[in-house]
């Protein structure tokens, strides 16, 4: 008997089945999902990332930050993410609409970064953390990124740059300052754009008494937003009104 064609077809169809189920099906279902506008505030979510943060995503990718940091907050059934104040709500598919590449991360050797922009608003502190993490957290295992910074001598009589994260003036003849390169600023801008906190339909926070947020889709119909982009129970939709 000749099994070659049988094996070929068998493999083809099993792989095609999982491709259909895991990739193509979900793509047909919500691959064209768009941003949503909150009616009360007029804010469209997810926010477009500013140009510098957009460049910072490339720095984040090139240096593989996502091998140790996740950018996903799970609901309380799956872990203590919310108790750790890594986010006010769980992250959902819509939060990542503009992420290219996605870089969700699957290992937490460092803390989650889905909302680092909301937690840490001080640019200088983030820069310092990139230059020498142990100066901020003593037993951190995060690598130093000195190559994102420039080491410059300060000429006698000259002031240190206001941008410097570190100035060494210990010896009188040769002073040194550490100044961030553009890449460092871009990466920090990217980190500060990490705010997956907006109130959206998929995960509603516990309703404050009397207050509710009305969400409409770009098409203007409330029905369109009910496409199950996540596993939020459909019964939540009417309660949003």
């Amino acid at each position: 008997m000749n099994y070659g064609p049988l094996i070929f077809l068998g493999v083809f169809f099993t792989v095609a089945a999982s491709w259909l189920g895991v990739v193509l099906g979900p793509h047909l279902q919500f691959g064209n999902d768009g941003p949503a506008t909150t009616e009360d505030t007029g804010i469209t979510y997810p926010y477009a990332r500013p140009g510098q943060a957009h460049q910072g995503a490339e720095v984040y990718r090139a240096n593989g930050c996502f091998y140790c940091h996740t950018r996903q907050v799970r609901s309380k059934e799956y872990g203590s993410d919310l108790e750790r104040h890594w986010g006010k709500r769980r992250t959902v598919a819509r939060d990542f609409l503009w992420d290219q590449p996605l870089m969700l991360g699957t290992l937490r050797l460092g803390p989650d970064l889905a909302n680092i922009g909301a937690r840490e608003t001080n640019t200088h502190a983030l820069l310092l953390r990139l230059y020498n993490p142990r100066s901020v957290m003593p037993n951190s295992t995060m690598p130093r990124y000195p190559y994102l910074f420039e080491k410059r001598p300060i000429k006698p009589g000259q002031e240190a740059s206001p941008d410097a994260v570190f100035v060494d003036q210990s010896s009188s003849d040769r002073n040194i300052e550490i100044v961030p390169k553009p890449e460092a600023y871009q990466l920090v801008a990217y980190l500060q754009s990490q705010k997956a906190e907006a109130v959206i339909l998929e995960v509603l926070p516990p309703l404050p008494p009397g207050g509710a947020t009305n969400v409409v889709s770009p098409g203007g119909t409330n029905a369109a937003i009910a496409t199950p982009a996540t596993n939020a129970p459909a019964t939540n939709a009417p309660s949003a009104k």
């Binding site: 996502f66 996605l102 290992l107």
Partner: protein
């Protein structure tokens, strides 16, 4: 091509495989050494972050994916191709055809890996875990694959019409699956990426199928060939083995999504992944029922002892990894172990413990036959096995224990994160030790193989090359 009438002898087949398969296997051992050095580097960086921090090429986020890709494509896939060619020639009893094209393909494959690794280290990785190879490297690899693997099919096709051995089923399934999975993954992940969260679906689909349909099927093909061969005991049930193959292909390829348990993915996608993963217990049992009795009844001839330890280690790793995967896809267990070092331990158990050990066993079995040398000795393989097997076991156990400690600490929100870090660091240190031992073993293996091959070349070709520099009889007579 006309079907060959009679089976060729083993020696003839080995001679036809000598250059193409020998090239693939020795190249793969070289990449194994590179991969283990990169792993040492990346695991040192987990507990000594200041180590070589000034060099952007060697930052953890680049060395780690470089080590992974070097192991998976440089060593595992390349050795898998070599072993697949040899197995398909041996199992069908035909001479290997297409040796020149295979050698060209091997050069392409290695070029693709070199370019890809340099790209990752230079910061050109795509940012998608397990799909890191830059867009300018993966097509080279793909071309290399086609130039090599097609000949395994052509070789088998010369003697169509005979019943297939179990390992041929696995082998052919893997050979057919790889181009499908590799091209679809890279096209939809890197070249024409889908939007947003769907990239996670592509990544997980690719990762899962690369592991299940390509690497694990090649590993199982080796186990199903070598274990009965070494022990002289037949596989109890052929239909069960074929059933295991198809159920694994179906359930396993659906199973990857559990890696995003609780993530920002529609719940039904994760649920499908969990169901697929839990169902893989069926093919896992099928493999265990077929291979465990064969492994237990081992015959104590010197050569079989040499190789059977590697293959046995691979079998045990495969089964343990399968069970751990099922466990960690369940919410009760996954809640603790998700995002921890345990996932790293499981990947190492699969890649090094199962795939790596099966391929090393096959390499130690095939290489001496190709070059007709009486090597390696029992003492050498015992030493090498202790280095690599011990290293893998130590690393996997340390990372698994570290993962559970880390997971339990993370679960408790009153423990601040820097305390979580402090708790897992000693385990990361132990895994550096393990990686050092593995790298040392691989260095010794590579040195020994190079020495053997060089000696063989010298013995065979030095006299004839030497003869070129001798004056010819005519000249000698003229001088006289």
């Amino acid at each position: 091509m006309e079907p060959q009438a009679s089976r060729a002898s083993a020696a003839e087949i080995d001679a036809s495989c000598r250059w193409p398969v020998g090239f693939l296997l020795t190249k793969s051992l070289g990449w194994l050494l590179v991969a283990s050095c990169l792993s040492v580097l990346s695991s040192i960086k987990l507990h000594a972050p200041g180590f070589l921090a000034n060099c952007s090429w060697l930052t953890y986020g680049r060395v780690q994916p470089a080590a992974w890709n070097c192991f998976v494509f440089g060593f595992a896939s390349q050795a898998a191709l070599g072993v697949a060619l040899w197995l398909s020639a041996r199992l069908t009893g035909t001479l290997l055809v297409g040796a020149r094209t295979i050698c060209v393909g091997t050069v392409l494959w290695n070029l693709g890996i070199t370019v890809g690794l340099l790209g990752i280290l230079a910061g050109d990785g795509t940012g998608i875990e397990s799909l890191e190879l830059p867009a300018y490297a993966s097509p080279i690899l793909f071309a290399g694959y086609l130039a090599i693997a097609s000949w395994s099919i052509v070789t088998g096709y010369q003697r169509r019409g005979e019943p297939l051995f179990v390992s041929q089923w696995y082998l052919m399934a893997a050979i057919f699956a790889f181009p499908w999975v590799f091209s679809a993954g890279h096209l939809m992940g890197v070249f024409f990426p889908l939007r947003g969260i769907l990239q996670a679906a592509v990544q997980v689909w690719y990762w899962q199928n690369l592991f299940t349909l390509w690497l694990s099927f090649i590993g199982l093909a080796i186990l199903f060939y070598l274990l009965p061969k070494l022990t002289g005991v037949a596989v109890p049930s052929r239909p069960l083995a074929v059933f295991g193959l198809w159920t694994m292909a179906l359930f396993g390829s659906f199973g990857g999504m559990y890696r995003y348990l609780g993530g920002p993915i529609p719940a039904y996608m994760v649920s499908t992944g969990v169901v697929g993963t839990v169902l893989t217990i069926v093919p896992l049992l099928a493999v265990a029922m077929n291979l465990w009795p064969v492994y237990r009844s081992r015959v104590q001839s010197e050569e079989s002892v040499n190789v059977v330890r590697f293959v046995g280690f691979a079998l045990v790793s495969y089964l343990v990894h399968g069970l751990l995967t099922v466990l960690s896809s369940l919410q009760a267990f996954g809640r603790i172990t998700h995002f921890t070092l345990l996932t790293v331990a499981m990947d190492q158990l699969f890649l090094q413990g199962f795939v790596g050990m099966a391929l090393l066993g096959a390499t130690l079995y095939v290489l001496p036959r190709l070059f007709e040398i009486n090597w390696p000795s029992l003492g050498f393989t015992r030493f090498y096995f202790r280095c690599v097997g011990g290293g893998i076991a130590l690393g996997v156990i340390a990372l698994a224990a570290g993962g559970i400690v880390q997971g339990l600490a993370m679960e408790n929100a009153t423990i601040p994160f820097f305390d979580v870090v402090r708790r897992y660091v000693p385990f990361a240190g132990t895994s550096t030790l393990a990686n050092l031992v593995i790298a040392f073993g691989n260095f010794v293996l590579c040195a020994a193989v190079s020495l053997q091959v060089l000696l063989w070349l010298a013995e065979r070709y030095v006299p004839s090359v030497w003869a070129w520099f001798q004056p010819s009889p005519v000249v000698r007579e003229a001088k006289a």
